[in-house]
């Protein structure tokens, strides 16, 4: 597989904060790659480094086999969809989309024709002569997308592009973005703090924490085999069990709530815990149970039943030994830069 982007020991320091700390990764051509993490984890800075909006403190950015670490944004074969869309308010939708062609000196008729095609691609035909202020949030998003794609970049960077949209629209756009990426065959690097979004759209996901990558994996790999407590808790939700477990040795383990079985009554045994039901959250198709056991709380998620156990009942929790995922230590917080 061809490599689109390669980051080598990439570091970016602001004041005494290591926003991006020795990041190494490879993004393959044609891949839908996500950078996932809480705010302040370095994912957006990493994207801005690739786009050329920040300069790395050390390390290298290789784009399509060429060192691009010091190239200005306009010299990179990369385009960006900004979080706030960054549309030009004084230009029509058509001129916004045609901007990249205008600055390259493409004649007016030609650039308007191609901008019209791009608007068709994002289903905005008929909006050519409106101003950005006359569009809805979802429509602005599409204009930003069309504007970034008109140069036919080999790599598109998307910085939380759906963050400002409401839930319904966001789900529609997720499907459309994914379809667009497939049909154009462009490499997408997608920054988000929404783990559901990252899991549903991506080929691979890098989970960022404190400027470093905690885990880089496929969505299924991240969810099924989280390597650290941070990943286990940030991607989906997890029970963290600690101690010596029969057949698995000593350590910390993640256990997904839906892998926990719950029955009424007390039936102790191996890979079982008896506890008292603290709280029941009825979620429709599923029900979430909070159970107080000795030494902590366990969350269980099960398909909803006709009869729901009342809070206070004694219940027995059980799971398969194979559902327990051993965890390594994660990345500690390192706000101070050692330079």
């Amino acid at each position: 597989m061809q490599t689109a982007v390669q980051l080598i020991n990439l570091t970016c320091i602001f004041g005494n904060v290591r926003a991006v700390d020795r990041v190494n990764l490879e993004v393959y051509s044609g891949e839908f790659f996500s950078m996932l993490g809480p705010s302040g984890s370095g994912k957006t800075t990493c994207l801005r480094l690739i786009g050329g909006f920040e300069a790395p403190s050390s390390g290298q950015i290789v784009l399509f086999g060429q060192d691009a670490s010091r190239l200005p944004p306009y010299a990179r074969d990369v385009n960006t969809v900004f979080q706030d869309y960054a549309l030009f308010p004084h230009m029509s939708v058509l001129d916004n989309v045609a901007y990249a062609l205008m600055v390259r000196g493409v004649p007016r008729a030609e650039r308007h024709r191609r901008a019209g095609e791009m608007l068709e691609l994002v289903k905005l035909s008929g909006m050519e002569h409106r101003r950005p202020s006359q569009l809805s949030g979802g429509q602005r998003q599409r204009v930003a997308l069309a504007r970034a794609l008109i140069n036919q970049p080999r790599l598109l960077l998307l910085d939380e592009p759906l963050g400002a949209l409401d839930l319904k629209l966001r789900e529609e756009m997720q499907i459309e973005l994914k379809a667009l990426q497939r049909s154009l065959g462009i490499t997408f690097i997608y920054v988000t703090h929404d783990q559901g979004e990252a899991l549903s759209m991506s080929d691979r996901v890098a989970v960022f924490n404190h400027g470093q990558i905690e885990q880089l994996d496929t969505p299924k790999g991240l969810y099924e085999h989280p390597q650290t407590e941070f990943v286990a808790r940030f991607v989906g939700s997890a029970n963290i069990l600690e101690g010596r477990l029969i057949g698995l040795g000593e350590g910390r383990f993640a256990l997904r709530p839906e892998r926990v079985r719950l029955v009424a009554g007390s039936e102790p045994g191996a890979h079982r815990l008896v506890g008292r039901l603290l709280d029941v959250h009825y979620l429709g198709s599923q029900t979430r149970y909070e159970v107080q056991v000795e030494g902590g709380r366990i969350t269980a998620l099960a398909p909803s039943q006709e009869e729901i156990l009342p809070a206070g009942s004694v219940v027995t929790l059980s799971w398969d030994a194979t559902s327990l995922r051993p965890l390594a230590d994660g990345i500690p917080a390192r706000p101070e830069a050692s330079v």
Binding site: G52, Y74, N79, A86, Y99, V103, N151
Partner: protein, 269 residues
């Protein structure tokens, strides 16, 4: 429903406006008086002859021409320098930034007489002859402040991602300025430029120090007032200048209003 103002407030407001505009009416009235030595009230008679006298005065036209040229050039200099300084202040953080900001605003905050003396001393030191260009330099120091203030305020409203988006789409620095920044700050430039022009056009104190033998219109007015005869001529010229400057002021107001609509709407992007 808006509350109706009380009678006292209305009287106070009307009195305030009258106080501001009464002197203008006096100037208007005495442009037509037949008495040319004293401002006796009421004027003994009304005449239009001073218009002819005033427009025939070569020294008046020369002063008006000089003032216009100085104001235009000083405004142009202020627009370029003020925009550049505003851009630098907006983009960069550096040691002593507050000091630079303060020193920029000083020419307008300091009494004009200090600025004037400072400029005159510098001009003498450098061995320059007071001329058209020394007046322009003097005026540009304070004209720049109005442009800077307007533009820097607008810069703060411009989203940095628009500039980044432009660079991302292949525009170099100059193209980004031409196509993204300039349209964004156009109305601020217009407002700052108008103000700069107005400041320069009626400036007296700094001009007296930097002008040498040349007379700008305000200085011409001053010297006319000390002459015993033909006093209504200054009133005629004042009315003429007021009438002429009214047009661009109204125009600018129109333009900035429609501009605000446009940019205000864009703020949500």
């Amino acid at each position: 429903m808006k509350a109706k103002p009380s009678l006292a407030l209305r009287i106070a407001a009307i009195a305030g406006i009258a106080f501001l505009h009464f002197p203008l009416l006096i100037i208007l009235l005495y442009a037509f008086t037949t008495e040319d030595r004293t401002y006796q009230f009421p004027p003994p008679g009304l005449t239009l002859k001073w218009f002819g006298v005033a427009f025939a005065r070569q020294d008046m036209w020369a002063a008006l021409g000089l003032s216009l040229r100085v104001a235009l050039v000083a405004t142009a200099v202020a627009l370029v320098l003020g925009t550049m300084v505003a851009g630098a202040m907006y983009r960069f953080n550096f040691l002593g930034k507050d000091v630079v900001t303060l020193s920029l605003i000083l020419p307008i905050a300091l009494p004009g007489i200090l600025t004037g003396i400072a400029l005159l001393t510098t001009i003498n030191r450098l061995g320059l002859e007071p001329s058209f260009w020394t007046i322009v330099i003097g005026h540009a120091t304070f004209c720049m402040v109005t442009v800077y203030n307007n533009v820097v305020a607008r810069f703060r409203r411009l989203t940095p991602s628009q500039i980044e988006a432009s660079m991302d789409l292949g525009a170099d620095g100059f193209q980004t300025f031409r196509y993204v920044i300039l349209p964004g700050i156009a109305t601020a430039l217009l407002a700052g430029g108008m103000l700069a022009f107005a400041l320069s056009f009626d400036e007296v104190i700094v001009t007296t120090f930097t002008a040498g033998q040349d007379k700008t219109l305000p200085i011409w007015f001053l010297s006319e007032l000390f002459k015993p005869r033909e006093r209504p001529v200054t009133n005629v010229v004042a009315i003429f200048v007021t009438a002429v400057t009214f047009v661009p002021i109204l125009l600018a107001q129109r333009l900035t209003q429609s501009g605000e609509e446009l940019h205000g709407g864009g703020k949500t992007t």
